[in-house]
């Protein structure tokens, strides 16, 4: 039987991510042993167990003896790994309730949040959820239990879009609230002031969090594919503007590109991962690509 929030867990999607590990680029501190390096010393770094080889694993860690016996690749675990506390911050402002494709940005973000939560919890990490618009609407601290996953999924199912986006204020607030170092996964359309957003995200950085930004945008926002004159209605403010999108497309796309570029530059300077995500892009691809990329960077 499906739970309330299970609508964001697509079995097909999950099936495509069987061996995906969420790897924190930095060592995080955890109460339980996870798959992540602990920054704490004193734990044994000897061999612990084997794990099935996954693409991206260092070949030096492959246990060739096991391979010789079982003809399967296993890697040896030598180090103590701590649990990762990941907090997924999902933007649920009105602007996220937009999508010309098969789903809105909010739905896309919800799928992403659910999937990431599932992956984290199923590899014994902890996942939490923050839902915000102009302020924090829902805060679920990171936990590692399966019940907690259902709680997250239930929360995701109950999210109603509303309010305006205020990423910077929320981020400052959360940076002060989340004391334990961990992973901050921001899923938002980032329709806020870039500099204030960068400042707020640096606040996370300052608090030693590993920050990942998923800038979720619809294709229509990026390409402005409309040709007909229309009265464009801003979702968050309700203001209107008569627009000939065909004649303005080039200017618009350049401006959006500049905006995204500014974000990217600013975030990369502070070593924050920035990932521009189109809602037309398959979620598994997005997640797989990104975390594979992070795993490579970690090693």
């Amino acid at each position: 039987m499906k739970t309330v929030g299970s609508k964001f867990l697509d079995p097909d999607l999950l099936a495509k991510l069987p061996n995906l590990e969420v790897v924190a680029r930095k060592l995080v501190r955890g109460a339980f042993v996870g798959y992540h390096k602990s920054p704490d010393f004193g734990y044994s770094v000897e061999f612990v167990d084997h794990r099935e080889y996954a693409p991206g694993d260092d070949l030096r860690s492959v246990d060739w003896r096991v391979w010789a016996r079982k003809d399967k690749y296993y890697v040896k675990r030598f180090e103590m790994e701590s649990q990762l506390k990941a907090t997924i911050i999902l933007d649920s402002s009105k602007s996220m309730d937009f999508g010309d494709g098969r789903m809105t940005k909010l739905a896309y973000g919800s799928f992403m949040a659910a999937t990431i939560s599932y992956l984290l919890i199923h590899q014994n990490d902890m996942a939490g959820l923050v839902n915000f618009d102009s302020k924090v609407r829902t805060y679920i601290p990171p936990r590692g239990s399966r019940q907690h996953l259902r709680l997250i999924l239930h929360a995701l199912a109950g999210i109603k879009p509303g309010g305006s986006t205020n990423v910077s204020a929320v981020c400052h607030h959360l940076a002060d609230t989340i004391k334990t170092r961990g992973m901050i996964i921001l899923i938002s359309d980032m329709l806020d002031d870039p500099q204030s957003m960068l400042t707020a995200l640096r606040h996370f950085q300052h608090m030693k969090h590993d920050v990942i930004v998923f800038h979720v945008l619809d294709d229509s926002e990026l390409d402005l594919p409309y040709n007909e004159l229309a009265n464009f209605l801003e979702l968050e403010t309700g203001s209107r503007l008569a627009l000939d999108p065909a004649g303005f497309r080039s200017v618009y796309t350049s401006r959006v590109a500049a905006f995204c570029g500014e974000l990217r530059e600013g975030l990369l300077k502070t070593n924050i991962d920035y990932n521009l995500v189109r809602t037309s892009q398959p979620i598994e691809t997005t997640i797989s690509n990104f975390f594979s990329f992070r795993a490579r960077r970690t090693r």
Partner: protein
């Protein structure tokens, strides 16, 4: 401003289409939800305004293109006069073509009428070339319209085997009573062998569907003609080709022209038009006799082009036969009648010696009389005898004047007819065989019936003589072939043998006439036993003086006798007579009464088809004084004449003037017959017949007591024939048993008078109209082209408008393409 093709103006409604699309498109501007407007700024508004501006420019171009297209197709024009008008004018032209006989005059080897036709053709060419119209087309309303009006009526029907052309003409004449005739010319497509019974009978109907079906049923190649049975109202035609065909078939008519009526018709039809150019083109020789009179009325707002076809430069002599008058309308076969012809020179110069040919019946050799030169505007009488040497009932004669210098031969012939009375063959039966000449009972009757000189007072004024009177004895009667005789007169017969009695009875029953003078020796009982006498012979009265006191005035048998005898009636006295008692059979009547109370002198009775007249008095002086009286001669001749000529021709005036109609009384016994009209033509051997269309009120045969003849359009001899019974096919020639009435048609004198009216005077007659008058002096139609040039069309605005529409469409395409290009970028 007006339009040649108003219908295209409805196309302006199409302008609403782009406007509606524009409005609908504008209304469909969506309220598009979007995440943020932060990336938009004021330049966006400017862009929207530009886009709306482009949309409106495109809309305006589309609307303008449509308006220009529709206006161009509607062919606008401004109703201004002269050639400075803007736009094209649709033209309504009524060509009044004078086809009166005077137009048949020659000038430089070409008739005036041919010159007029050339000019009219040039006008039609101008209409056609300016409109680009197909001559065969008959639809649409964007073209000029034209009507051809002949001043002297229609010419002979146009036969054609083109069924489509007939159907088009039928469509034009919907509602008009028409006759569909099949060609009967020998050797033509529709000969008697190919036409068949169904197609040799004309179809008379106003039902166009029935005529249409008849045209479809017609064998291929059969030449047909649609002949209007009543005058058609003029109307403007789009099909110039049809008018051209009418023009080509127009001929000089024998009917005098009526310019006034024709111009009135043209004005009437043009007043119903709203075209920019409404013009009457009158082509005439302006002969005085037709043009003099009051001014034409009802021409306000119309234009008139008067094309004067000038007559020959030097009009010479114009000899004409005014009339020919026979001294008697009817003569006995073999007798002569004096005829008097009036020859007049209408010209303004003396004539030269001419020849007057007299054609009598079908005689090949005509008598010729030399006509001396006549001074201008003088006349002379020419007398000539005509001998009635023909077995025909009517002697058809023509007087033809031939002159090498005559300029106008239309009036050079005169057709007339003389009735010919066939001889009444009479047999007088003598009741006293072996008697000497004067003692013969038939002596005085033979004497009365013998030919008389014209000076004889007893027969003066009758203009007739009974010939072929024979006699025989009573005992020889049974050996006689009685069918040779028309009348038998029994004189002093005592008794008749049964064979002779039966023979006489059969003779009378078959239509013969019998006159009986019993005489003093008659055996009354024998007479009463004959069985076919109209009265019973009661007793012989001797010594009782009696005389004729009265005649039945209304009895045809003694018609006119009383007037001619006068007081001599009482001179018919006698002492010996027979008391008669008329029977009560129908048809029995007393023709004359004796002074003795209640005793008749003459009794008439019907026996079968024949008539018997019984006298109470004998025919010899031994019986009475009657034979000694001149009145006896008159009475006897009248009785025999009556019995010998029972047939009465159809009552029809023998002579008519061309253009007149006529009606003929039909005898009751032919009330179900079929009428037919023929024109008699002179052939190498004898007379031929050309069947002509005729008119009748209803049904397939005569229902009324008269037959209406169409008005004569040709001069010559015609023959109205009433065939007994209903004919299955077209009557190709007068048939056996038909009752015929010949009629001769001659010209009037209006067309004979020469001299044209001054053109300025003629032009002044067109009051209220804008008149331009031209002399058409050339022979190659250039003058006609000059007339056609007056049919100005103005500038062809429709071309400009169509070009503008094209430009607008091109601009729209360019702007739209550029807009789309910007959109794609």
């Amino acid at each position: 401003m007006n339009f040649l093709a108003v219908g295209f103006l409805f196309g302006l409604a199409a302008v609403a289409v782009p406007v509606l699309i524009h409005l609908i498109h504008r209304q469909r501007y969506p309220d598009r939800r979007f995440t943020t407007l932060r990336f938009f700024d004021k330049t966006v508004k400017h862009n929207v305004i530009q886009r709306k501006l482009i949309d409106r420019i495109l809309l305006a171009l589309r609307v303008l293109a449509l308006i220009a297209l529709m206006l161009g197709l509607a062919r606008p024009f401004f109703q201004t006069t002269g050639s400075g008008g803007i736009g094209e004018r649709r033209r309504s032209v009524a060509i009044v073509l004078d086809n009166s006989p005077s137009m048949g005059r020659m000038r430089d080897g070409k008739t005036l009428f041919d010159r007029a036709k050339t000019a009219a053709t040039a006008v039609l060419d101008a209409l056609q070339s300016n409109t680009g119209e197909s001559a065969q087309a008959d639809a649409g309303d964007a073209r000029d319209r034209v009507e051809l009006i002949l001043t002297a009526g229609a010419s002979t029907p146009l036969y054609t085997s083109d069924k489509e052309a007939l159907k088009r003409e039928l469509a034009v004449r919907t509602g008009q009573r028409l006759a569909l005739l099949a060609e009967e010319k020998p050797g033509a497509a529709g000969t008697a062998e190919t036409t068949g019974a169904e197609w040799s009978r004309p179809e008379f109907d106003a039902d166009s569907a029935r005529l249409l079906a008849a045209i479809d049923r017609a064998p291929a190649g059969l030449a047909l003609a649609l002949v209007p049975l009543e005058p058609s109202e003029p109307r403007l035609h789009y099909s110039i080709g049809q008018i051209r065909a009418q023009l080509e078939n127009a001929r000089v008519s024998a009917v005098p022209g009526d310019v006034r009526t024709s111009v009135a018709k043209a004005a009437r039809v043009l007043r119903e038009s709203h075209d920019g150019e409404r013009r009457i083109v009158v082509l005439s020789d302006l002969q005085k006799s037709k043009w003099q009179g009051e001014k034409f009325e009802g021409l306000e707002g119309l234009s008139v082009t008067l094309g004067a076809i000038d007559p020959p430069a030097e009009a010479g002599a114009n000899l004409a036969i005014e009339n020919v008058t026979p001294a008697a309308r009817e003569v006995v076969l073999g007798q002569s009648v004096m005829c008097t012809a009036t020859i007049r020179n209408y010209g303004n110069r003396p004539s030269e010696t001419a020849a007057l040919s007299i054609v009598v019946g079908d005689r090949a050799q005509a008598a010729k009389i030399e006509i001396p030169p006549l001074a201008a505007s003088t006349s002379m009488l020419v007398s000539f005898p005509i001998s009635a040497m023909t077995r025909e009932r009517n002697l058809l004669c023509s007087a033809i004047l031939k002159s090498s210098t005559d300029t106008f031969d239309y009036d050079n012939s005169w057709h007339f007819q003389i009735g010919v009375r066939p001889p009444v063959t009479t047999l007088c039966v003598n009741g006293a065989p072996g008697a000497a000449l004067s003692d013969r009972e038939t002596f005085f009757v033979m004497n009365a019936l013998a030919p008389r000189p014209a000076s004889d007072s007893a027969t003066a004024g009758q203009g007739e003589n009974l010939v072929d009177v024979r006699d025989c004895d009573a005992n020889d009667l049974k050996n006689q072939q009685l069918f040779q005789y028309s009348v038998i007169v029994l004189c002093g017969i005592t008794t008749l043998e049964p064979d002779a009695r039966e023979k006489l009875h059969r003779f009378v029953s078959d239509g013969g006439g019998l006159v009986i003078f019993p005489g003093s020796k008659a055996v009354l009982d024998d007479y009463n036993a004959w069985g076919f006498l109209p009265a019973k012979l009661l007793e012989r009265k001797t010594g009782n003086f009696a005389y004729v006191t009265s005649l039945a005035d209304d009895a045809p048998a003694v018609a006119g006798v009383k007037q001619r005898i006068g007081g001599g009636l009482n001179a018919l006295s006698t002492n010996t007579w027979i008391a008669l008692e008329p029977d009560t059979q129908p048809g029995t009547r007393v023709l004359a009464s004796l002074s003795a109370p209640s005793f008749p002198a003459l009794v008439q009775g019907r026996v079968g088809k024949g008539t018997v007249i019984l006298s109470a008095v004998g025919s010899h002086v031994s019986d009475s004084d009657w034979p000694l009286r001149p009145a006896f001669v008159i009475l006897t001749r009248t009785l025999v004449k009556y019995l010998g000529n029972p047939a009465v021709a159809l009552a029809l005036e023998p002579n008519r003037i061309v253009g007149e109609g006529a009606s003929a009384l039909v005898p009751s016994e032919l009330a179900t017959g079929t009428p037919a009209l023929f024109r008699l033509i002179q052939k190498e051997k004898g007379v031929g017949y050309v069947s002509l269309p005729w008119n009748r009120t209803d049904g397939a045969s005569i229902a009324a007591a008269s037959v209406i003849l169409p008005r004569a359009t040709e001069t010559g001899h015609f023959l109205l024939s009433v065939q007994p019974g209903a004919a299955e096919g077209l009557i190709r020639e007068p048939g056996l048993g038909a009752r015929m009435a010949p009629v001769s048609v001659n010209h009037g004198d209006r067309e004979s008078t020469q001299g044209s009216m001054p053109m300025a005077d003629a032009a002044a007659l067109f009051s209220g109209a804008k008149v331009s008058a031209k002399h058409l002096t050339d022979a190659d139609g250039e003058s006609g082209i000059a007339i056609a040039d007056e049919l100005t069309t103005g500038r062809e605005l429709w071309r400009i408008l169509l070009c503008a529409a094209l430009v607008f469409l091109l601009l729209e395409t360019v702007v739209a393409a550029r807009s789309r290009s910007e959109t794609a970028n």
